[in-house]
């Protein structure tokens, strides 16, 4: 059998193909994004699409299951908060075609605003959850998940994590199962969640969970690994692999389905050992079950191991008192390397101006969240997707009630605006709110690695799509009179417009439009250069936070290999010390979106 080194996300995609799935949807979010980006390789067999947000993607996959199609929806952990409403309904509705909900959690918060443990959602929604520990299992559990889903008429959650999704290990490649026949017959009792029907459904769900609990005891991926000691370890997900590095001679209960917890199998395991360690990332899910089943057993879980961060080999060893994690070399003594907006980033000029004008900025989720870091320092809040607009309203109204006033702007990206900014903007219109909403439209979902969205003109499957024009939407569609569009590289234009609009006592919208600088393939940028005679080292250009600008011999200096020729620093310099070079190539400011497509997006 052919074996390939696949990432967890690639393996989930392969699993979707082999399981006979024919519909897959998602909203991109690290660490889940590459799942759909890889499922789309099978677009001949699987309909693939990005939803505008996780809720729409979830409901679209639910709809597909009504036709008997095997479906998959993928999102990052916080995405499931957005999709929580249909998640709970889906448990009652069951799944005609098998239904997999992939939640990619982020213990350690590599790229997230929190580290919630989404196994809690499976328990709350009363659906089974599978936790793979490597890429082979990531693939297998999609296939097994579809079987469980169809056998018990339930959606199945697959809980991945950053380390499972983004690590690579060997996977055996198999054949695709023939998908079930697609059919639809109206069945009111089955698909209408009216209270009178839902009451009956809830009883069915509770019975179903009992049956799945019995199944969990016999599920072949829940297994006991014999040891040579009287010590036992219960582990799931990547914590299982990390734990194997530490507890080399001990018994393991390898749990693939932490809920419903395999009670009988656990009892059998507990009889073999005197003391049990439980390794699971974030919350004590398995631990709580184990303590309930065997209250007198010596169990060591979250009383020793942390609720926060990753359960790495080092963390386990240090908590056991077997390794001192005080480093030889103190890395806090050297400069950090925080991520930053890129050279040529079309967001930089906007944040530079917001910083200068001392605005209270409610922010949002995307690359542009980096505008809150030094030296731009132009963001006050980050809550979740879409909250820039709504939090601005709350602040404004609360201040107004007390007779006070702030100079306020909300900053949101194009994809985030489509995700959940539009509804917030409706609230602003409806409640006669003031403030300036700045939509940074770089024509792509950038942070997660350039996914298409309703504003880009392409679908996930590479087909042409209508381009939603944000200015038209807000001005003509929602009727916001003071709506403007401006070029992201026009420093002075943005400054003037901001100054005007921030004074206004009503709502306004500024769409800052300029394509993401990273969308150009193999660019040949002609860089900007500094005239050292004219530079007086006032440092204003350094306050842009552009990675291409540094200093040399006490003068500003531009690293030409990084510079795109966006001209923002040229406009910011008060001493006319910066100008475009004559080097061959193009200044990015002289390009348009069409140039991106010419190069093949």
């Amino acid at each position: 059998m052919k074996r390939e080194l696949l990432s967890g996300n690639e393996a989930i995609a392969r699993g979707a193909y082999e399981a006979g799935i024919t519909f897959a949807s998602a909203y991109p979010g690290t660490p889940s994004t590459e799942i759909l980006e890889n499922v789309v390789k099978y677009k001949e067999d699987i309909q693939c699409q990005w939803g505008s947000n996780e809720k729409t993607a979830f409901e679209e996959a639910m709809g597909a299951t009504f036709t008997g199609a095997r479906s998959l929806v993928a999102m990052k952990h916080v995405g499931l908060n957005v999709a929580a409403d249909p998640l709970f309904s889906s448990s009652y509705l069951g799944a005609d075609g098998g239904f997999i909900i992939v939640s990619a959690d982020d213990p350690g918060m590599h790229s997230s605003q929190n580290e919630q443990d989404n196994r809690n959602y499976a328990i709350a929604a009363k659906i089974p959850v599978l936790e793979p520990s490597d890429s082979q299992e990531a693939k297998d559990f999609v296939i097994e998940g579809i079987k469980i889903s169809e056998k018990f008429n339930t959606p199945v959650m697959l809980r991945s994590s950053t380390r499972v999704s983004h690590s690579r290990s060997a996977v055996e490649i198999g054949e695709r199962e023939t998908p079930p026949e697609i059919h639809y017959e109206k069945d009111f009792q089955k698909t209408m969640l009216l209270p009178v029907i839902a009451r009956k459904k809830h009883i069915i769900v509770e019975k179903r969970q009992k049956k799945i609990k019995e199944f969990s005891d016999t599920f072949k991926y829940n297994s006991i690994i014999e040891g040579k000691s009287r010590i036992g370890v219960i582990a799931s997900g990547i914590a299982f692999q990390n734990g194997r590095e530490v507890f080399k001679d001990d018994w393991f209960l390898k749990v693939a389905m932490p809920y419903p917890f395999p009670e009988k199998l656990y009892k059998e395991f507990a009889d073999k050992v005197d003391k049990i360690y439980i390794l699971e990332e974030n919350d004590p899910i398995m631990e709580n079950f184990a303590r309930l089943i065997t209250p007198d057993k010596e169990i060591i879980g979250k009383d020793l191991f942390p609720l926060t961060g990753e359960m790495t080999e080092d963390v386990i060893l240090s908590k056991l008192g077997k390794k001192n994690l005080t480093p030889d070399f103190d890395i806090n003594s050297i400069p950090k390397r925080p991520p930053s907006l890129c050279p040529g980033c079309p967001h930089t000029a906007t944040f530079h101006n917001l910083n200068l004008q001392k605005v209270t900025v409610t922010g949002d989720i995307g690359c542009y969240t980096l505008g809150g870091l030094p030296p731009l320092n132009a963001m006050d809040t980050t809550i979740d997707m879409g909250a820039s607009i709504t939090a601005m309203l709350g602040m404004e109204k609360a201040m107004a009630k007390a007779g006070k006033k702030l100079k306020q702007a909300a900053v949101i990206g194009d994809s985030t605006f489509f995700h959940s900014g539009i509804t917030g903007l409706l609230d602003l219109i409806y409640n006669d709110s003031r403030g300036t909403v700045i939509i940074l439209d770089n024509s792509i979902t950038a942070m997660t690695g350039h996914q298409d969205n309703p504003g880009t003109g392409k679908t996930l499957m590479g087909e042409d799509a209508p381009v939603v024009d944000i200015l038209k939407l807000v001005k003509d569609g929602l009727g916001i009179e003071h709506s403007f569009e401006i070029d992201g590289y026009d420093v002075k234009g943005i400054r003037t417009l901001l100054r005007e609009e921030l004074k206004r006592d009503s709502l306004s919208v500024i769409v800052v439009k300029r394509v993401c600088a990273l969308l150009f393939k193999k660019p040949n940028w002609s860089p900007t250069i500094v005239d050292p005679e004219k530079c007086i080292k006032c440092n204003l250009c350094l306050k842009l936070g552009c990675p291409a600008i540094t200093s040399k011999n006490d003068k500003a200096f531009i690293v030409s290999s990084l510079c795109t020729g966006c001209s923002v620093c040229i406009q910011v310099c008060p001493h006319d010390a910066m100008h475009h070079s004559d080097e061959d190539g193009v200044h990015i400011k002289d390009t348009s979106l069409a140039d991106v497509f010419k190069g093949g997006k």
């Binding site: 080194l5 990432s7 690290t30 660490p31 994004t33 590459e34 590599h110 790229s111 490597d134 380390r163 983004h166 690590s167 690579r168 290990s169 060997a170 990547i238 692999q241 990390n242 194997r244 590095e245 990753e310 790495t312 080999e313 080092d314 060893l317 390794k323 994690l325 480093p327 030889d328 070399f329 890395i331 050297i334 400069p335 950090k336 390397r337 925080p338 991520p339 930053s340 907006l341 890129c342 690359c367 980096l370 030094p374 030296p375 942070m447 997660t448 690695g449 440092n539 350094l542 306050k543 936070g545 990675p547 600008i549 540094t550 200093s551 290999s561």
Partner: protein, 190 residues
């Protein structure tokens, strides 16, 4: 089981190098697991990839004082990851400075004692001007292959396997260039 840590700055080709390396190890008959960092840190932040290989590999993650080899694409990033190095592990560092933003904006200084610290904490240090070598060969993008050449000279894997993987992984028209880059690294310590 052995561990290799590859460290650098987002955009330097750390992930590409780690892909090439895992192919070499697979071809050499090992079980391989690799972990990567994606997302926010790719926007100019520090990036590491870890490769573990051997007869049986469980965790794909690095542990302190556990790396047999560290390959750093930038000096500061070499020092940042020095605590992963085993007592007798090999440290291969590109003699190249990429100032992080807090340094470029003048908030802090780039340390001037990196070389000294690297020597203090590793008994087997190779400091190689890989970026200069690659630029000299005509393409700065071959920096990672120069560094991989150095690593190859320190590992007990047949040279042909390395050469074959390089040939397979790089675009056809740049095979010759990349093989030269590999050789420059391979012979650097000889």
């Amino acid at each position: 089981m052995k561990t290799i840590v590859i460290a650098g700055v987002g955009g330097q080709g750390v992930l590409t190098a780690s892909d090439l390396l895992s192919d070499v190890l697979l071809d050499a008959g090992f079980n391989v697991k690799k972990s990567e960092v994606h997302g926010m840190s790719q926007r100019g932040g520090d990036v590491i990839a870890t490769i573990k290989y051997g007869e049986e590999v469980f965790s794909p993650l690095p542990a302190m004082k556990n790396a047999d080899y560290i390959l750093a694409f930038e000096k500061l990033e070499g020092l940042r990851n020095i605590n992963f190095l085993k007592d007798n592990g090999a440290m291969i560092v590109n003699d190249f400075v990429w100032e992080p933003l807090p340094v470029a904006s003048g908030a802090v200084e780039y340390p001037d004692d990196i070389e000294e610290n690297l020597k203090n904490y590793s008994s087997d240090l190779t400091l190689i001007p890989a970026t200069d070598i690659a630029t000299g060969l005509g393409n700065i993008r071959t920096t990672n292959v120069v560094l991989i050449g150095v690593l190859a000279s320190k590992m007990d894997i047949d040279k042909d396997i390395w050469i074959n993987v390089v040939k397979r992984k790089v675009p056809p028209k740049s095979v010759e260039l990349n093989i030269s880059a590999f050789e420059k690294g391979f012979t650097f310590n000889m």
